[in-house]
Structure formats: C-alpha cells, structure tokens
Symmetry: C2
Subunit: 324 residues, 2 copies
C-alpha cells in the first residue's frame, strides 16, 4: 500500500527522514483488531516534531484520522465510518484496571510508539479503540476528533468556572482547537499569538485573539499551546497567584526557565495529553464545534512530503492528507 | 539593638554579606503593629539562599520565631508569647479580599521582602499576624510553627487519601518537617535522602527514610524538598502517571530539566509555599507533632555568623538563635 515512512536512523537529515512508498506491506490485524481504510488524516505538531527526532519512532506516522472499517470480527463495526483512540492499551495492568489505559506502560500509540499510523491507505487498531462516527459529522470535521478530545481532556482533569479569565498561548493548530473546546464549554478564552494572519483567521472562526505581548497578567487559567520553553515562561508571568497553568504541549528541554514562580505564587501546573473521544464527537455532532474553518489545505497522500512542508509553515493551520 | 544584617550590595562575597551589629536602631511599630521581643528564631534554607543573593533583600533576615509582645495597642496581645504569620498584607486589594493575603502584591514579608526580620532582639508585625502560643507549647517547639504551617499548606491545596504512597525528596530541614506533617495526617511518607547520618536521625524521629536512588517509581505523590533542579527531575521519574508532584522548594533556574513527562504522564505539579499557622499550632499543642528532635543546636544571637555557617553544613538540621 501507499504510505509515508519515517526513518530515524542516525545520520539522516530532517528531509531524508520521511519517504513516500507505494509498496509498503499491508498491516495485518491482530486478534481483536480491525483493518481500517483511511479516508482523511490530519498533520499535527507532534508529527512534525517526530520528523525532527522526537520519540525516536520508526514506521508510519499519523494519529489523527477518520476511516472506514474494511475487515473486522466485530459485527457492530463492519463497514462503519470510524475514528480511533490512539493509545492501544494492554487491558490487563494496574493502569488499565484503573481505567487509565491511556497511561498503560505497555501501550502502543498509533503512529507514535510501536504501531504504524494513519499517513497510509490502511491502519489497524483494536476494536475497542474504534468509535463509529455519526452521519451528521463530515469527514473533514471527524478528522479533528483526536485533537478535540485532547482539548476536552482539560475538563476531565480540572474545573474551570464560568467567568474565569482564560488565556491560551499559541495561535497554532492546538491553541485554536483548545479555544473552540473552551468556547463550547461556555468560557471566553483569549488566544495570545504572534502571527497577525493567524489571529485574523481565528477571529473569523469566532475566537478572540490578540498579540501575546499585549496580554495583561492576572489570568485565572493559562493554557500553554506554544510548545516552547518561552511559552512556559510567559505563561508563568500571565497566571495569577493560585491560578492554573495547563501544559498542552511538551517542551523537551526547559531551557533554563525560572520555575520559582510556581512555588512563590503557588501555581497549579497540569500536564494534559490525550482525552476521551466521546465528548469531542458529541460536540462535533451537535454543531457546538465546527473546526473546518481551521483547514488550510487537503493534499492527496502521494503529495505527503510537500504537505508536511506546508504544515511546518507558520501561517498554516490544519493540513489534511486524503489517502484514497 | 543587636541584629544580624544582610547587605547585598554588589561586590560583596557571601561571607561579607552578613554582619553582626550591636547598634542597629530599634524597630518602630506602625499603626496596628506590635513590638515583639524575639525569644528564639530558626534558620531556614531561604535565609541561607538569601546570603547567596536570593530575593535581593537588604536588612535583618529571619522569619521563623517565637517571641513576646512588649508594646501593642491590642490588649489581647499585651505580654503574650506569640508566633507570627510572615506575610504582612495590605488588607485592601483583590487578593486580600479573597482571603489570599499571603499573595497580596503589596505585601511585605518578615525578613524576606521589605520588612526587617527575626535575627534580632526585636521585630514588628501587624497585630493581625500575631498568634498567642498555648502554654503547653515550649519555645523550642513553637519556633517551628512557620515551617510546619508551610508543610500543612499542602493539605489546603490538595487531598491525599490514606494509603496513597508518598515520597519526600530531600533529607534536610524541610523534608523532615513535611514528613512530620504528613505523619500527623495519617500518611506514611518515605523520605529519599543522600546523607546517611541525617537519615539515621530521621529514623530516630520516627520518619522512614532510605537512599533516594533506591526509591522505586510509581508514587502517588512526590514532594520535592531538595531545592535543586536535580530533585525536580528525580521527582518526575518517581511520580506515577496522573500523580501529584508538590514543589515545596524553589528552583531559581530549571537547569534544562526535561519537563515533557509532565505532559506525557499528565502530572499535576503544585507549587506550595506558606500556610496558615493555626493547624500547625494545633498539632504542636496536641503533641501530634514534636519537632524538637530536629534541633541541631541553639546559639546566642551574638554567635549568629558561626550559627549560619553551621546551618549550611549538610549534616545539620535546625539551628536556632537565642536573641535574649
């Protein structure tokens, strides 16, 4: 089948690490897994980070997708249009038994860890990871289920009261999606950005945005979606004492950020990663969230390499790959 | 009066920054403040940090004390033995009105920020900061009220269930006091240390301790009392996914600690600083906590400089200064 392949062997440059192949072997569903034909896949910041060495993953990247089940032993899934939770847990360890499969130490993660991903014509996932997509949700919206679920994860971890002042740092893909989730929950976040064109576009999607350096300190909640140590430092400036700082993006090094304000101001820092798909799908079905204005382009899979390059451009929001 | 004076003028070495003076002017209580004769004062890691430049404070350091009120307009305080909350808040701002005076942006802090402290014969504090000490609590125990209050602050910020596995990193003064507070709340923390003699001494105070490198990962709660970036990195290794990491000590630089595990493992990081005195005094009065085994020495104020040097030694717990 056709697929984008990431090869992190030593000595390869960033551009050489990803290749398009037409002869990659079809994935082979294990017991309890279904074979899914990918319809659309989304390119995420994590995918781009991986082309720069993050996670040391070799194989097919991609973890945001909507597809259709073409082979399964679970009749309820046969032929269905589905999205899929990306963490394939063992189901049997302490974490899994505590309903924390997304932290199962034996898990594989679609397109990130030990499992080929969605930048391909086909993928496999355990049946229990697959969730049928309601007819009312178009492919172009359903493909946002995974990042939206990650945004809704915030509300599984903490409570944000109506009226609390929320700032979101980062005017990129994730910042925008977190803003949409917050708005769907009745909050009025403001995105602090660096790119005039992006902030204009956010405004078009109904999201308030202004240059990050104009934000005034004292926010009850600051969500860091910048993926940079600078963002973390700025978030620590903006959050009020006893406020919450939610980290949605990983910072591999902390680059000497002064963390003393966390203690002095008694900040609660919450790391937040993947979430349940159900609340995200519900919000897409009800129309509470329509992420489609965030699509910057749809490329066929065979143009995957230029698509990845586009997704790296500062001015671009979500780039999708159409596999078939 | 006699006092230790910290002078952070540029060009002075660490040893030159602190001096003993016998002719320092007596403090002058402002409206609503009392004059307190210091009986005992404790040397804390923050005091030692300040002699190395932290906070840029000039004046009399020291914020842990027990004393007696010698001049006041509040009759209930006259002649009483007292301890004192160290944050002197404005009483009028949004934080003060929200009962968060310890975060008042206009506050002074005894011996740390804009207010002379306790390494002296006398100090001043607002009457509302002073709390009479029950007769049953000896000076040598009462002087621990401030650090104990900081330890109890953890329970104002979060809930730790009985049976949860708690590790405390750092076998120093603060780690020991946090361990005592945890035990008083029915928890069974284990201190991870680096100093055999200190760990032995902790065992003598009924606190379980073992070498930090022998701790196994998977703790529900890890409290970092090391005051070092290494401690933070180690705490991130030891805490389980979705666990809590409580920062009790400030790390001025993060020295390149990889913070990605906070997001990947969805850790809740809680900065925790000062606390209410009442729960601490209650625990001292009831005998639930007796911190006196942690005293490594009591020095007269005129030996304040050698006392500070002793407090800096790795093998020492709490060093007290007896002002009069």
């Amino acid at each position: 089948m056709r697929a984008l392949i990431l090869n992190q062997s030593a000595g390869l440059g960033s551009a050489e690490r990803v290749a398009l192949r037409d002869d990659y072997p079809m994935p082979n569903p294990r017991r309890g897994e279904s074979l899914v034909r990918v319809r659309l896949a989304g390119i995420c910041g994590t995918d781009l980070e991986m082309t720069r060495g993050y996670m040391g993953f070799n194989g097919i990247p991609g973890h945001e997708f909507v597809g259709e089940v073409v082979s399964t032993t679970t009749s309820a899934l046969a032929g269905r249009r589905v999205v899929g939770e990306i963490n394939a847990a063992c189901g049997d360890c302490d974490f899994c038994r505590a309903n924390m499969g997304r932290h199962c130490p034996k898990r594989s993660v679609l397109g990130i860890l030990g499992r080929d991903g969605a930048f391909a014509e086909y993928l496999c996932l355990p049946d229990r990871n697959l969730i049928p997509v309601p007819d009312a949700v178009a492919d172009e919206a359903a493909v946002f289920t995974e990042p939206l679920a990650a945004a809704f994860e915030i509300f599984e971890q903490t409570t944000i009261e109506p009226g609390e002042q929320v700032a979101i740092l980062g005017d990129g893909r994730l910042g925008a999606i977190v803003a949409l989730a917050m708005k769907a929950r009745g909050l009025s976040p403001i995105v602090g950005g660096h790119h005039e064109d992006k902030m204009k576009r956010l405004a078009g999607a109904g999201i308030a945005a202004q240059p990050e350096d104009r934000l005034r300190t004292g926010f009850d909640v600051v969500v860091d979606c910048t993926g940079s140590a600078k963002g973390l430092a700025r978030a620590l400036e903006l959050v009020r004492p006893r406020g919450k700082l939610i980290l949605k993006t990983t910072v591999a090094g902390s680059a000497g950020v002064n963390l003393a304000p966390i203690v002095i101001n008694e900040i609660q820092v919450l790391g937040s990663r993947c979430g349940r798909f159900r609340p995200a799908l519900d919000a897409l079905r009800s129309g509470a969230i329509d992420p489609r204005p965030l699509i910057s382009g749809i490329y066929p899979l065979e143009e995957g390499l230029p698509a990845l390059a586009r997704a790296s451009e500062k001015s671009k929001f979500k780039i999708l790959l159409k596999a078939s």
